[in-house]
Symmetry: none
Subunit: 242 residues, 4 copies
DNA sequence: CATGAATGAGCCTTCATTCAT
DNA sequence: TATGAATGAAGGCTCATTCAT
């Protein structure tokens, strides 16, 4: 039994190893650059072995995307429980996004990759389902915070705006910022010296624009983020999920 | 001389023809689907001829991206002169973005494509320079509006925020929205019924958050956009740039 | 000892199981479609186990061919003893061919497969020997009937024709008919409405051509075949060989 | 013009070269053994060049089959016009079969190969059509002879037998004989010393069985064949079709 | 004996690029 | 300058066979 389970553990580890080796290639050089030949030789295993673990290339990318999405969901869950007041919880979500994007920069890129229709269509139905569920749950967490804010009177949404449409603003702002930061290394050259701080400032201003209570200064918000970041990381490291 | 210049004109026309044929393929089916064989046979010229015009495939994509960026810059220029008040001019920029994204959906996709490192690196220094310049000038136009707003007292920027960093917020918000809309066809399924309207609403709120004067209701803003859109389109059609 | 022989029986049974599972694949989908993986998983044994029984894929095909040939030989033996008169015994052989081909259509296909040089060369010397012996014995049975016919004065062979060469005519006619029927599903489209009846008619005419006595009408011959078929099948089912 | 057509001629020749190299592999070692890699290296051209001529492997096999079938049809046409009397014309067809099978042994094997469903399905519609037409025309030639024989009173067909079903007998007998000869190199070991002569004798006997007039001795028939063979070959060589 | 992960040669195919004409 | 045949590396994938456990 011990022997068997050791072997099985090794195999599972190898699957993880494939993903670990594949991610940086995928992120730095794109989908085309990730070839099964290259991956196999990097693994120092034969190509056939690779195919024993993943039936095709697309599945590897999908598996990476799932890893990423699950990490994000976990971060979101931690973030949404760090505080009582809704605005602080939303700030914590922003903080989770930061952690997700900054500390695990690669996850973000893989997520974007999956939005390519070819990969999506070739990956297994099972994985597609998983991905949809991950996305849905992440949105549900954040929309839940918004609904709590409304229920507690901290936030009033404009007429005809759903909680999800409200969230969409922050999603787009942070997603767009990250995408631009990643793809334009020369942002400082055109006068955007600290794009990350700018992003946060805009988020804060957007919250203010919607009069999300309690109003806080930007400095207070930054301090809150700092504190929250530490708390989330502590939680996460504790459960070995990073 | 006449002969030569006629010939040169023909060559330029052929180059244009390549781009015209390449864009829809690139946009609809992606980078891989655009093959030199396919392009050549669609052009009804030989592959070798293609290579007389463009030294490699990446250059074609880069050329397409430049076309797109130049169109955007043109739209921005038109937009920035449609009004006297800075907030209205900024709204016009937003309108230009909409036109660029909605009416010329393909341009947006090509621009995103270029953000792939492989293509970027293989394209010629000259075109890289051109692209940088385009991006820079587009930013300069919008930042100019912001500076005008500050100069006229319509807008006060937070301490330590440059005009470009301010613009970055709107850029990220609109770019992120478009990217998400394009890549997630199921946005309505997760409660985001009208993502485009949401995007505009968030932009309006962000402007309010920065107290950009004169304050306007969302309805007024929408009407302004409608009017501006017509004016820009009229201008553009007049000069055959669409 | 008992234990060992039980184990040996189990092994033989497993070998039989492999063949039983392999034949329909081989017949319906061809040599390429028969993969060791597929076979192993259908067996619910590991691939390695398969290799304990058969040293390579070709041996499996060869074993199947032997099964087929042995069945044919059995049918021939039954057929050759159904009557006293030689012409009727020969008709019974034709009937056995029919049964072999029609009712056990698969056997015929496997036999043809073996005629591929690659498979033949890779199969073991032992099995090659077996196959040769099977073929030889089948021929011997039929040639025996011919010799009996000659001895009893029912048939006179042309000068310089051996009994085997005489048999060869019927062999070729029936084998060729079956091969064409199996491989040309559109025979009726080109005017061959009932190829099987035609085949039998030609055999009957060939017999007449050699003046094999007693002369019989085609209808009589058909009735004889009908009767013989039932007798052979009864025998065979009785001994579980189908 | 000369230059261009020289190149084009070279290319056409290369296509022929591919077929010339492919046929013996296909014949001696089967469909699987014919690989594009192997073919290319034997040609001393790159694999890509091969694919410029034939879009896939199946098309090569189909092209070979068409060559074979067209040769056969040509031989049949020549054969069917070598004499006035129908029986002699039918003998000439048999002779054409002999020439086809003996002198161009490989053609026969390729024809058999095409009867594999996988190859058939993957080859282009155009070639499938060609093949069907070839087969149909070959049958039409022979059936035409039979109909002439009936018209002239040389032959009476049994009730309910079409001319094509009559032909089927000779087709099966010759096809089956050839298939057995090719696949069983050890025919003499089992007493079939001269299978080709036997085949001819059986055909002759079958003709006699149907009372095809004018009755001829086997020796006469053999002499006729000899003469016809020379005439066909002369014709064919004259028109460079062999 | 049974297992099944590992192997790796081999398969068919694609396509950006070159270069002789 | 235009052509398009030739190239050949690279790609994804398969599968008979081996061998440590």
């Amino acid at each position: 039994m011990q022997l068997l389970s050791r072997k099985q553990r090794e195999i599972q580890q190898r699957e993880q190893q494939v993903l670990t080796l594949a991610r940086p290639i995928l992120v730095a050089e794109g989908y085309q650059a990730l070839s099964m030949d290259r991956l196999a030789s990097k693994m120092e295993y034969a190509k056939g072995t690779l195919y024993n673990h993943f039936p095709n290339k697309e599945e590897i990318v999908a598996a990476l995307a799932i890893e990423s999405l699950e990490l994000r969901r976990t971060l979101f869950e931690r973030a949404s429980t760090t505080s009582a007041r809704s605005r602080e919880r939303m700030i914590a979500i922003g903080c989770a996004c930061d952690l997700y994007a900054i500390e695990c920069e690669q996850h973000f890129a893989v997520e974007q990759m999956l939005r390519n229709s070819v990969i999506w269509e070739k990956s297994s139905e099972k994985r597609q389902e998983l991905i949809r569920k991950c996305e849905y749950r992440a949105m549900a967490i954040v929309a839940g915070i918004v609904r709590d804010a409304i229920a507690s009177g901290d936030l009033v949404l404009p007429a005809e705006m759903t909680a999800e449409e409200f969230v969409f603003g922050f999603w787009a702002l942070t997603y767009g910022s990250r995408a631009l930061i990643n793809s334009s290394p020369s942002l400082p050259d055109i006068g955007i010296n600290d794009p990350v701080r700018s992003m946060r400032y805009h988020c804060w201003t957007l919250m203010n624009g919607y009069h999300w209570k309690p109003l806080m200064s930007f400095e207070e918000t930054e301090q809150t983020m700092q504190a929250v970041a530490e708390r989330i990381l502590a939680n996460v490291q504790q459960s070995n999920e990073l």
